[in-house]
């Protein structure tokens, strides 16, 4: 049976610690380059701070982790890619990026309504010796290609290998958990199979408090958000991605 892996992120639980960002980068051998900036860095998941626009005691803020939404329908990046370097995996629903096919034209970055894709401007580099700390299950990130979240696909492979070794057809769901989900100290990010109606994540995605960013575009993202706050839910249909606010301290 094919799965539709997705997430429900409870924004009322996110404390903006950034553990998911660091854990994701460590898992996927993303380098920390000195020349990288907010615009040019490689951050498959990035946590933005947004507010209700009020000041003083009426001000409210929330944190929104943004990553590839793994759009199911008319996936914008798939439609524009001239190299067929992006495809929606039929078995998992994961929007897969194949860096070996990518020629770096960046049409997909322009097409993505969520600004969830990043161009890799530089060869990966680490201080001398630090390459020994890289995850052996993942290749280093290639220069000149577009990158994005692939829901820690290598972990799915490992889970499948484990299931195969145990002569099982299906993986144990606890064996496939993306790094950001594992790292979240408040369990704000829930991961599961949206195609399984009994999966807790599928149930949660049907909650009245659940919403998707720019749902009106009809791309059927598989990343859902959840909040009790109406002003947070209203943000979902704003035309631009949540604008980062520079915060110090």
């Amino acid at each position: 049976m094919s799965a539709r892996y997705g997430m429900v992120i409870d924004l009322d639980r996110c404390i903006g610690c950034g553990s998911c960002m660091v854990a994701c980068a460590a898992e996927n051998n993303v380098p920390a380059l000195q020349q990288a900036t907010v615009r040019t860095g490689l951050t498959p998941i990035v946590v933005r701070t947004v507010s209700n626009g009020q000041e003083g005691a009426a001000r409210r803020e929330t944190f929104i982790p943004i990553m590839c939404m793994h759009c199911e329908h008319d996936t914008p990046c798939v439609k524009v890619c001239p190299q067929q370097a992006v495809e929606v995996d039929r078995a998992t629903g994961i929007v897969m990026q194949m860096p070996q096919r990518c020629l770096g034209c960046r049409y997909c970055m322009t097409a993505c309504p969520y600004h969830a894709r990043y161009f890799n401007w530089w060869d990966p580099a680490w201080p001398a010796g630090m390459e020994k700390s890289l995850n052996p299950g993942i290749a280093v990130r290639m220069r000149g290609v577009v990158e994005k979240c692939n829901l820690c696909h290598a972990r799915l492979h490992t889970a499948k290998e484990k299931a195969a070794a145990a002569a099982k057809r299906e993986i144990d769901p606890t064996d496939y958990v993306p790094a950001c989900v594992e790292a979240c100290p408040t369990s704000a990010i829930h991961f599961g199979n949206l195609a399984d109606a009994n999966d807790p994540v599928a149930k949660e995605s049907r909650s009245p408090e659940a919403f998707r960013l720019l749902a009106r575009l009809g791309t059927e993202p598989k990343v859902y958000y959840k909040s009790k706050e109406a002003w947070v839910r209203d943000l979902a249909e704003t035309n631009s991605a949540p604008r980062p606010e520079v915060k110090h301290g």
Binding site: D10, D12, G18, R48, G129, S133, V140, R143, K247
Partner: protein, 554 residues
Amino acid sequence: MKVTRRDLLVWSAGAAAGLVVTPVPWKILDDVSIWSQNWPWIPQPAKGPVEVKQSACTLCPNGCGLRVRMAGGCPVGLSGVNTNPVSRGALCPLGFGAHQLNWHPRRLRNVKHRGNISSWSEASAAFAKAAREGPIVIVDGHPGRSASSVLENFAEKWGGGYRVAMGPETRSLAPYELWSGVPATSLGYDLENTQTIVSFGAPLLDGWGIPGRFPRLWAERAASMNDPQLRIVQADPSLSRTAARAWQWLQVREGSESALAAGLVRALLEQNLVPAHGAIPLATISEAANETGLSADRIRELARTIVAKPPVLAVSPDFNPAVAALNVVLGAVGARGGIVRSSDRTKKYSSVAGAISNVRAVVIDSSVPWDFAAKSDAEVFRFAAWDGGSSKGDWLLPAPGFLEESTDISTPPAYPVETYAVAANLAKPTFEVQTAARFLANLDASAGTPETILHSRCEQLFRSRSGTLYGQTITPMTEIASTQELEKHLWDGAVWVGERCSAKLACELKEWPSASPSSRAGNWTQPWLAPVLPPLASKLYIESNLRGTPGRTV
């Protein structure tokens, strides 16, 4: 056939046009691109079998449970241990990139004497001379370890002093030490059993205490609940991360925390919400309102709100006697869900807060945070794994880096029960490093060694037969057959958690404390200063807008 100049030009033009429509140049371009993306000198991950080990994080005194993926003898990935009852599977953001720290460009690889490269033998000779001339002071950042005992023994035998650089959580408990006589290191916050927390700027959800403890607790009992089982009232001048998630946020003026605590006590007593108490603040509610920016009615209402759901606990980010006095008035000291004794130990440590005068030398252990600079004109021997540039030591002595040292970890600061864990040295240092304890033990073997002290502590734990061991399984200590079995479990990453301490805790507050200056709230970057953050932490403050740069954050 005669080839004319015109033929040559026609042929060249035809070849150029033909080349464009053939796939050859594009294929070559593509191949060159792919080839150049995989230059042989581009770093590649280490090869080798992958194994998973359990240990404890040594970045700070909390000792969070660590699941370490190893490949080729090196740690290649870190995550939390869900079965660890102290950290509950969480790590701070720095912890996820900590395995990179051993190759940090600022790693201290050589002994340095006033900026010049020196040697261990010269450092040892210089320290031996200084110790003989004496007196010396040894500064420790994580008291309670076996290595700490070596430092303490050495200081005692050589007529020196042993001082501790306390963290903000321990400093926040210092007023109770003054009023009850119980050392702050034997006290803890019983957060798990409280229902209302009044935080006077403590970054409860942003690195205060053990990274996984309060966020997990909040997620279970408060997050996205209209009527949370755990109410957080956060007094902060601006919308901090904790304030953004608190049940109520009180926007108060900067530095008015003591005044708010005094005003709350006045309001509690005025409305008979707590039993009458001997020591009352001199300031009135109106004066507190003027200072905090809240209205007097708001303070009265707040007093009613916080006692509506007991037990109530007030928490300050650092030393603040007024907030501690509020806890005394609320009856939170020595009560369930309040300030409790974590152990019956009565040994007090001398703080290193003041100047260190009239000493010949100061030894600073690598566990002391970077931002500590000894206020002394003595010769400073600073042990450090990284040269953060702020330690101002005469001697900089390379210490083991992350997971390069076997060490034990005792009760985290402000934790309500005793714990004990061991962090094994899973990574091998590629150059000569020494711990301060080993350095001193080489000079005087009678101070003991961390290994022998660790072993004797395990024997004591085994003989006590109390507590529980949390490893792959949960095992009561009564089921552990020998000291060797206990040690094996601990070296495999298990953590021992003791029973709740039954010793009484009572505070006598004779007069209301004078206001203390407010302290800045710290977070998990506090013991670190750029550039010794794990490189991946740059994702938080360079490659996103999530945080300000560490220099501004701490």
